[in-house]
Symmetry: C2
Subunit: 205 residues, 2 copies
């Protein structure tokens, strides 16, 4: 990922160097977390050592470990693209594609799992992750399903909280159980099949 | 949980004392894991100290840390009850009830999450959890859904792997996202609503 920097002959002073250090710090944070150092044990010292920077470089940019972890997680979680396709079905596919890709990212999964596991110890961190990552995703999906009810593409009597859990959970669990079985590759048509299944449900028509 | 033992005046020698020690060791293991000590850092020393037993007491019963963790996890994971209700719908409710109860157990969730996070480091442990916990659950659900297809209660063209992910994932994600929001209480009719939703799907009929 640093190839461009390394091969570029001349580099302007100041900002790029700082940007490079930031990137190294973020990567070090994510690596250390995904190596299962718990949040409590994640130290600025360890991040500094791994990133090859001094602790002051980190403290200049992030005032606490929580800030650093939230920013590191944010780099893995791209904003949900606007869901404005022609049909709700198409947008559901876009949504599942995004969360499926995120769920496949080992580091992203680790940070989320560890944050969950330590919710009791780090309530503020969990709250910030909730605001930065979970809430926008929930809102986007809620708006999409409500739009589908309005347009008649989805059932008028849809149980929204359960429907949302079903959409997200289907993809999350598929990825998780594949990972647990040691299989990280998913069928190419997974999103399409999942949308088909979610739309149709289990019962015969 | 040890009340019965403590209030019982006379206690036969040997087995009960050993059973009590075993219970303390299992509890200490689960507590330490759920306090987010990673598996790599979980030590027999720490378990012995927490349980108030000597290390030899642990080694007499468990030859490795992996054995201990698998046995500890097994105490949280009751076997899936036989799914032999009158209808597939009823059995689906039983299944969701069981996995929902398990998913609500913080310690159970922690052990599973940590094992997942460290799958690369502890492949044998993950394989044993897969055999002891995940495989029987997958098989029970697979058999149930296949029965439903045969009886006509479920769609003949059901996409089985996706359907399984949807059933399990709906409950898991509901519990997980509720936990992330700090809400651990679920509506009393959650299982019923979930079965309704899973059967009917998203599209209008």
């Amino acid at each position: 990922m640093t190839t461009t920097d390394e091969t570029r002959p001349a580099r302007p002073a100041g900002r790029p160097r700082s940007a490079r250090a930031e990137k190294a710090i973020i990567e070090a944070t994510l690596d250390l977390i995904s190596e299962s150092v718990s949040l409590s044990e994640l130290s600025i010292e360890a991040v500094a050592a791994r990133a090859g920077v001094g602790k002051t470089t980190i403290y200049r940019r992030w005032s606490s470990k929580e800030d650093l972890v939230v920013d590191a997680l944010a780099t893995l979680k791209a904003p949900i693209p606007p869901l404005e396709g022609r049909t709700v079905r198409e947008d559901l596919a876009v949504y599942l594609e995004v969360i499926g890709r995120e769920a496949c990212d080992v580091r992203s999964r680790c940070v989320m799992n560890i944050a969950m596991n330590e919710a009791g110890r780090h309530p503020q961190l969990v709250e910030r992750i909730r605001q930065a990552v979970i809430k926008p995703r929930r809102e986007a999906l809620g708006a999409l399903l409500r739009r589908g009810i309005e347009t008649g593409e989805l059932r008028p009597d849809l149980d929204l909280p359960v429907a949302m859990a079903t959409v997200v959970g289907s993809m999350m669990w598929y990825v998780k159980s594949a990972g647990f079985g040691g299989v990280e590759e998913h069928p190419e048509d997974l999103v399409e099949r999942m949308v088909d299944h979610l739309m149709a449900g289990l019962a015969p028509r």
